[in-house]
Symmetry: D2
Subunit: 225 residues, 4 copies
């Protein structure tokens, strides 16, 4: 499976505003925006909400994390087969709030390739992005942790982090899709992100905690065109 | 909420035999056995299967793990509020396949108390059980990791582990329910477990991987009476 | 081995002021104060400084951490036999900056008992202290992490944390020595700590980063008498 | 600082045969072999033995691990400044027995560069080696964990792992030194390792647990010439 570009991934994190029934409602808004604008919008709800969200929408649904495991004795872990059965077509990997050992990142990417899941690996700086690129995931998302949740967009505050990532990742593997995240809250943040060479954004609080998520997401989608 | 004793908790782990639709089917069998026998049976499916399982059955459903977090920025983590919204009434904590820092165990137990979730904390030996008892969870389950998945029951192979746990836990906190697990696969394992002073069993492969889970679980339930 | 009470443990952490040659110099000051006052003072330098410090002083030297391992293939881990060969007579365990899984804490305490090393387990609140007490270490040190390094002493700011710990720990195991730490920087903090029922203090920046560590430590020692 | 090639790194792990006084004795044998053969031999003793070993020998001494920290409040962690003060000129990073998060590997390599320490990062397969190469450490050592301690050498049992690593690492960064390890116990294992394109070996039990470490190490050194 291959997603259209540019794309917007909405990370639901563990906000109450995007939990349970509200997860489904928010995902439906994203679904509507995607259909109205033709822009690829992915939603990444909590694991417990995955099945309900995937049933409700036609846009791609990602898990927020999977573990590098085969079916078996792994109480409390996240099995690729189970998230796929629930309707996920991809997964975030190594988000700055759920960082992983290097060998686990490699094993999870290999697992997603085997299972035909889309892999989106997060990286905290351009060097880490380059290391991730050598593992050939589908998507690398650069997110400086110091800007996450601040409302100060990486694309505006530290544009060189985006351009360095684009250069370093594409030097190692030219066909990886690069997203950027952290602090994306203004419409302009999205268009600047694309101008810097990324192919979309990974957003969370900027949408989830917005007064009107539908309107903001619609504006973000428009800004990618 | 308080569960009836004796009880059987079925841990679905991440087996394919208890994933997706099969999770619901297995949970329905447990539900049937519970209704037929009057014995309290709890199911603990994977997080992605939690909502579907909880919708399908009337018996108590547990999460396999929750994280010591409040709603917020915790990508890939497990929020108590979200598992409750999905229908869980309790959670396993510190399973030997998902071991936690001591301060996190304490924080999760405090969270379950605040949220009125039932806490079942796993311990690998009697000393660890005693330490857990000081944190006053609802249930302590003693599971020597070396016997998990072997088919050699703790209640038969190492009865002193069960009796030591009963003595040490009740010395510290008399009203904690004690379960035992690891290798429980024969009907006799269950009755012996109760004779040793435990109030039930935590089982996984013995039921999930059985040729006829309904029959075995029915026999286990009968053995507790 | 048994230490005299009251006692002061000086945690050198990874400050430059207590690294390398300065570790030995600081330890010698502690040694001098101990001899002049008769008060038991323990120093806990970094692992790389352990051998040099232990050679230079007669007071007890602790490791800051050991791992729950036997001799073998554990690259980068800390072997009890090796820290003992270097001259350590005890170890900190589960410091809030180096927190451990519950089963590892239990295994390390068992190891210290087998090796006749003194165990000092840190806990972040009274409940965790009680859990630790069930594992019967020699010393429990209560240190609320939110006060560490603040200069606001636990004994003054949150005296109930100390008294609750004393009550809960001694209810489970009466012969455990209880220390308190976090923010201890004034002479009065030490005397209050003892009045609340602790048998000494665990200090770090209050001594290591003091302008005149010898004088402060001397005053702390005097305050314990 | 730059080491001569080919090189042999002897990882002392936490074996009793390479702890305390025996660490110094073994390091002296390595020192002797290096002087007699002119071959670069590095020793990586436990942290507590680092200072004594570095005082006793003239060959390069590595730490087995350092943490991505600055001087400060990091009880039980390993400070670059402290291992340097003890005489280390480099460090192993991410050994399969001490695996790290990707962002920590990147931060430690950046720290070694800043401090002019030699970085030797271990990787468990060619893909992980390539990811590490993007971070530009001085040395990448490929060690399939399933062969560690077996006496079955990676260079003989899985030569393609070594050649794939050489190709993939040098494609990303041509001037990284590549070593291989795991199961190296025969003289031939060393010469084969070099023929496959590596520039030396990382050995542990093959030397440490040998009846006559001096003789084996001498033969290994001869085999690199």
């Amino acid at each position: 499976m291959k997603l259209n570009e540019p794309m917007i991934i909405v990370n639901f994190k563990t906000y109450l505003e995007s939990s349970g029934k509200k997860a489904v409602e928010l995902a439906l808004k994203a679904d509507k925006v995607s259909k109205e604008t033709g822009v690829c919008i992915v939603v990444a709800p909590q694991l417990v909400d995955l099945a309900k969200v995937a049933e409700a929408v036609e846009i791609p649904v990602f898990a927020q994390h999977i573990d590098p495991i085969k079916p078996g004795s792994f109480t409390g872990h996240v099995l690729a087969e189970a998230v796929m059965a629930a309707g996920a077509v991809g997964t975030l990997i190594n988000h700055s709030e759920r960082q992983l050992k290097l060998s686990d990142i490699e094993a999870i990417i290999a697992l997603t390739r085997e299972k035909n899941l889309i892999s989106c690996v997060c990286a905290n700086n351009p060097s880490v992005s380059a290391a991730v690129a050598a593992l050939k995931p589908d998507i690398v998302s650069i997110e400086p942790p110091e800007l996450i949740g601040t409302g100060i967009a990486v694309s505006k505050a530290k544009p060189e982090i985006v351009t360095d990532t684009v250069n370093m990742v594409h030097h190692i593997c030219p066909d990886i899709t690069i997203l950027c995240g952290a602090g994306i809250s203004q419409i302009e943040d999205v268009s600047v992100a694309l101008k810097l060479g990324s192919r979309g954004v990974l957003v969370a609080s900027g949408i989830v905690k917005a007064k009107d998520p539908y309107n903001i997401l619609h504006a973000f989608a428009d800004a990618t065109r």
